[in-house]
């Protein structure tokens, strides 16, 4: 039987570049990714920062993808999958950049990922960083990893997350690092769509029925304790702000506040007054100190690649 006659055979025969499960090799093909760190910028800091922004998107994307086959309507199913895909796209380029700057080396396992695989290609940096890193090496803010609860809570989460990341990416377009600037430029319109989508649902549910209002407010309340952390600057971020590479997270508070002030009153929702979840000894997600929610998310994301490290399809 000709391979073209059988969709599975055709996919399997799609060769070298057809690594759908394990990425397409952005670190090899995206020309900007291979640029050195800009003059005067510490390579390790830049790699760490790329990892932070990558992990926010990667873990958030994985969380959103949990909605696949569970969304309330087909349209929302498709929307959530597309939003997850946008975030994954941002994560992939940033992981490749972090890997090019050296962040992946320590996670390559001898005999598994360091040497060429069967088809003569080494595991890509982005795969190594996504699939072979344990939770304490993830640098995402804890907001990215929390359980998204019901649809209302997911929309509250998305409104805050996209408003924050949109503010970040808007400013990052002027970064001294060409990859960060390029990723940010592409991310801005994508995040603007996400924020409008989330804001639309927060309005509709908040100012909807008695029940939808209660659940929308509860969703916002559940997300709220994780919001404060996203405005705190890690030492790496502070150093890179000085170097013109990074965005000061403190500056993003005004963006998120402005969006919430616009949406919440119309949605008849109250801005929560719940205490923030404290950092542990001053350390949070950016330091690899995570909530217990991250482990299971990574287990789902990583188990297949770890069980079949050489698999391609």
């Amino acid at each position: 039987m000709d391979a073209d006659d059988n969709v599975y055979d055709a996919l399997a025969a799609a060769d070298h570049d057809g690594r759908w499960a394990h990425g397409a090799g952005f670190d090899e093909s995206v020309v900007e990714v291979t640029a050195p760190a800009p003059d005067g910028v510490d390579t390790e800091d830049l790699a760490a920062y790329c990892l932070m922004l990558a992990d926010d998107a990667l873990v958030g994307s994985q969380r959103l993808s949990e909605w696949a086959t569970h969304a309330p309507e087909l349209e929302e199913e498709v929307a959530l999958a597309n939003i997850a895909l946008d975030l994954l796209g941002q994560a992939r380029v940033l992981l490749a950049r972090a890997g090019h700057l050296g962040a992946a080396e320590r996670f390559r396992v001898a005999g598994r990922a360091s040497e060429a695989t069967g088809d003569g290609r080494a595991h890509d940096d982005e795969d190594v960083l996504a699939y072979f890193r344990d939770d304490r090496f993830f640098r995402n803010v804890t907001l990215a990893e929390i359980d998204l609860g019901d649809f209302a809570q997911t929309m509250a989460w998305m409104l805050v997350f996209s408003s924050w990341r949109l503010g970040l990416m808007t400013r990052l377009r002027g970064s001294a690092d060409p990859v960060l600037a390029a990723v940010a430029t592409k991310a801005v319109p994508e995040l603007a769509y996400q924020r409008e989508y989330a804001a639309g649902w927060v309005l509709r549910l908040g100012d909807g029925t008695e029940l939808s209002h209660v659940r929308m407010q509860a969703g916002l309340d559940a997300v709220w304790p994780f919001v404060e952390e996203i405005f705190g600057a890690h030492a790496v971020e502070t150093r890179l702000v000085e170097a013109g590479v990074a965005v000061d997270p403190a500056a993003l508070r005004a963006d998120v506040d402005a969006d919430l002030e616009q949406v919440l009153p119309v949605a008849t929702l109250t801005r929560p007054e719940r205490p923030a979840v404290g950092l542990v000894g001053g350390r949070g997600g950016r330091d690899g100190v995570h909530t217990e929610a991250l482990g299971p998310v990574l287990a789902v994301m990583q188990s297949l690649a770890r069980a079949h490290p050489e698999a391609t399809w």
Binding site: G18, S29, V30, E196, Q262
Partner: protein, 167 residues
């Protein structure tokens, strides 16, 4: 004269490769084919992604590698700068989209560098129905069957259609 493969440049061949999700468009129509260089039995094609997460990118790379193989060793590079926008879709591409029942994107012009305002009201400007031309349309979902389209319904002919989002 009958054109044979050897008469054609690598650019001509690359430009005819179609988008896997929007097969009515070639990579050239879509504006994602940036350059094709050819020397010494080696071809380097550079494309730019529509969306960073676009799953079609892998297929585009594989298709280009296959179609250009006659010219020698092929490398397909991806470049993020300058970023792709729907403004790069050619007039020919817009015509083909409309013909296939997909409302083409609006021209958005140069991007602002400032903050992006959140708009809660539905947009004033309506997408024209590619079937009957009516502007009496409503967005059903901002996210359609592919990452780059939204789902819209025409109130006049009552048909749903896809709109390629301006981005």
């Amino acid at each position: 004269m009958v054109s044979t493969l050897t008469d054609r440049s690598p650019w001509d061949v690359a430009a005819e490769v179609t988008d896997p999700e929007m097969p009515m468009l070639t990579l050239a129509d879509l504006g994602v084919l940036r350059s094709v260089s050819h020397d010494d039995g080696r071809v380097v094609a550079t494309i730019t992604p529509t969306y960073a997460g676009c799953p079609a990118l892998d297929a585009m790379r594989a298709d280009l590698a296959e179609k250009l193989a006659d010219f020698g060793e092929v490398e397909v590079r991806v470049s993020l700068t300058p970023p792709w926008t729907t403004d790069l879709i050619s007039d020919e591409g817009r015509r083909k989209l409309a013909e296939a029942g997909v409302a083409p994107p609006e021209h958005i012009g140069p991007r602002t560098t400032g903050p992006v305002a959140l708009t809660l009201a539905p947009p004033e400007k309506r997408v024209e129905c590619p079937r009957c031309g009516s502007a009496d349309t409503a967005v059903l979902s901002r996210f359609g069957p592919t990452a780059c389209t939204a789902l819209v319904r025409c109130r006049v002919c009552r048909e749903p259609f896809e709109h390629m989002k301006d981005i």
